[in-house]
């Protein structure tokens, strides 16, 4: 049995994100981190593999992105993935959710996994949707925002919080499941795993290798195209207190609340 984990490189939270005025797209030059939600997806894959209730032979990390995205794959491998697949092609640049989901599904179809796991959201955009797009292309059942996975007679018993409370859903394999950060505590990679990550097999794919139609990907073929950017209605910045002397800080808070008749 094979588990593919979709991973993504995202802007480091410490790096200020901005739109490149020349292209109207996200300036991704400061990117350098594996999407935190994806580390939970890898951990979920490792726990399924180590749990032994499913006979998982390998965990494969899959990403789509420019050359730099290789770092996300190295991180994924250091966290336990056996090998990785890097879909990278100039033609993919600027793809929207439609194009990205389609392209990823082609790369996944070539791997024919029994389970696809991914983080439910990323800091920079395609929140909650990619998993469900990929699932439809693969004709697989899908569930997003899952916080608990148990194996039950070869199926996955998944829990998640939905509009009216917690739902439990039984999902047959092969399936596509996105996970939330409450699902587990990702392990820290060992120094040995970090050093060894670059030696694990990494396959690089261009769109032609997995039959991606060039007219369905890239910015020019985006079905939803970001046009103008404008500033949101401005909200007046609030007052900030740096807590140095807590007694003094508390006095200030109480005065602030009192002034507004809140206590």
């Amino acid at each position: 049995m094979k588990i593919c984990v979709l991973v993504k490189e995202v802007p480091d939270a410490a790096v200020e994100k901005r739109i490149d005025p020349a292209t109207g797209r996200m300036d991704r030059s400061g990117e350098k981190n594996l999407n935190p939600f994806d580390t939970h997806a890898i951990e979920a894959a490792m726990q399924l593999k180590e749990g032994g209730e499913l006979a998982v032979d390998e965990v494969v990390a899959v990403t789509m992105g420019p050359d730099s995205a290789v770092r996300a794959l190295h991180k994924a491998v250091s966290l336990g993935a056996d090998r990785s697949v890097h879909l990278s092609d100039d033609a993919l640049e600027g793809s929207d959710v439609n194009g990205t989901g389609y392209a990823l599904s082609r790369a996944l179809a070539a791997e024919a996994p029994d389970l696809v796991l991914l983080g439910q959201q990323s800091d920079d955009g395609e929140c909650y949707t990619i998993g469900a797009v990929v699932a439809e292309h693969l004709n697989a059942p899908s569930l997003t925002q899952v916080i608990k996975i148990d194996v039950e007679a070869g199926k996955l018993r998944c829990e998640r919080q939905a509009e009216y409370g917690y739902d439990t859903v039984l999902v047959e394999l092969p399936a596509v499941i996105s996970v939330g950060d409450a699902i587990n505590e990702p392990r820290y990679p060992s120094l040995k795993a970090i050093m060894g990550a670059k030696k694990k097999p990494l396959e690089k794919l261009a769109i032609g290798d997995v039959g991606i139609a060039p007219d369905r990907v890239g910015y020019a073929n985006a079905r939803a195209r970001c046009g103008d950017f404008h500033a949101p209605p401005a909200k007046q910045a609030g007052q900030i207190i740096e807590d140095e002397d807590t007694n003094e800080t508390v006095e200030k808070i109480v005065a602030w609340l009192d002034e507004r008749k809140l206590i």
């Binding site: 699932a135 925002q145 009216y164």
Partner: protein, 326 residues
Amino acid sequence: MDILVYALHYEGAFNKNSLGAVSEAARLASQIGGEAHALVLGASDELTDDLCGQLGAYGATKVYRAEGPEGLAQPVVDAMAKVITDDGYGYALFGGGLLGFEIGAGLVARLDAGVTMEVTAVRADGGKLIAERPILQDSSVSDVEYHSPVGVIIGRLNAFEADDSLGTGAASVEDVTFERSPQSGRATMVSRGEQRGADVNIEDAKVLVAGGRGLGKAEGFEALEALAGAMGGAVAATRAVVDAGWYSYSAQIGQTGKTVSPKLYLAAGISGAIQHKVGMQSSENIVAINKDSNAPIFEFSDLGIVGDLNKIVPKLTEAVKAKRGS
């Protein structure tokens, strides 16, 4: 051009965000020369003519009634894809929530459609719709236009206002039969809507003291309960800590929880992710305590305290008690 909306219902009532989506679709359809229609899916005995017809007041002129398992996205994708293909809709619109993301995303693949998520406003321009989506922690807004026969618009929680005076009467109800895709039969609901933790009322509280992951552990809520008690308020929580089992689901703010607007919202150890923000941003006064000076919550709080909540909250509780006692 007509707009199709998915209306989520549960235990005989429609979801407030779905009603907002129906009203938004009606407002927009009138500007692009079309009508707003809705699709509901569930058990046939629950989806009465009366219930479905209620969507008329919110602006839907027609309601498609489909039979299928509730609470799962892919059966709805099957039904909506068929209706959209057969009857030629230009847009599919969803209110904020979890199922809307999943159904909308499914339609993207099924209909080769464009999609915009977390939409806060939609406007008509030359017979087409343009979706406005805030990006980069709401620091910028992007105008998204569609280059596909069908555009999928997924609203942010509470983005669209429900208005029950938009329609002229009950909507007509049309039963629709559709073929289930193989994948939509391979996930089954075991149990739905389980409430975890004590049932607490936070929606009527004038003061809410809310805790997030920055509390460090479940016991961190004890200090917040003491503060809320001193202020005559109630305690609320973020999704992260509710999912972790630290606090009751019924006290959860945001995306899949409650929307509140108390006089005072005091956030302790909450970073201020969009999913939380959408549930509390209309509070009259927002005070945030967080040790990370870069936390997004400071960008929409009226008073921000950068510091250790474990030091500040107990002292604040004592000070509030002293003040109120005097």
